[in-house]
């Protein structure tokens, strides 16, 4: 097996794990489950983008993965700020302060 074949199998496994997190996102009962699934899926897809750039031997494709990683971090940050403000998914409210 050549090096390119090994990278292709790594790309297929990365996209398979992204598909599994997509299933978790579709079936997740609560909103924090879906937010964590989105974050995991963006990270896995950024890794897949880097591996695809290695296969096609074009260094421009690495920049897309970098930009997408930073922007998905900002999107996850906004979702987390919203969940904290609306108090979604907070388990214990036993400190006497209401929502």
């Amino acid at each position: 097996m050549t090096i390119d074949g090994m990278f292709m199998w790594a790309l297929i496994l990365l996209l398979f794990s992204a598909t599994l997190t997509l299933i978790r996102l579709l079936a997740g009962p609560t909103i924090p489950d879906r937010a964590v699934a989105l974050d995991s899926m963006t990270t896995t897809t950024a890794g897949a983008m880097v591996v695809y750039g290695v296969i096609t031997r074009q260094a421009v494709f690495i920049d897309v993965a970098l930009v997408y990683a930073v922007l998905s971090y900002i999107a996850t940050l906004y979702i987390a700020r919203y969940l904290v403000k609306k108090r979604v998914g907070i388990a214990c409210e036993c400190e006497g302060e209401g929502p």
Binding site: W9, L15, L22, M41, I55, V64
Partner: protein, 87 residues
């Protein structure tokens, strides 16, 4: 496995993912869940542009879809009342 088979397999997977994410983004009742499904749609669309050898369009789609659209929809939903948001 040569490169052409991998290319077509990626095309089929990206198309199925786009269809699933679009249907789910329409049919979710919760607004935040629908916004997260829209983020997944823009992610797979950016991956599709990336596979079709257009990295600059993929960067633009990532900036608009992942950052601006999600942040603006969430800032808009934050202004609404609780009966629409909490499931």
């Amino acid at each position: 496995m040569n490169f052409e088979e991998l290319f077509w397999a990626l095309q089929v997977m990206a198309g199925l993912g786009l269809l699933i994410a679009a249907i789910v983004a329409v049919r979710f009742k919760n607004l935040v869940s629908a916004v997260i499904a829209m983020a997944v749609f823009s992610l797979i669309l950016s991956l599709e542009f990336y596979i079709l050898q257009a990295p600059d369009v993929a960067i633009a789609e990532a900036g608009v879809g992942a950052c601006l659209t999600t942040a603006m929809y969430l800032l808009a939903i934050k202004k609404t009342t609780d009966e629409e948001v909490i499931e």
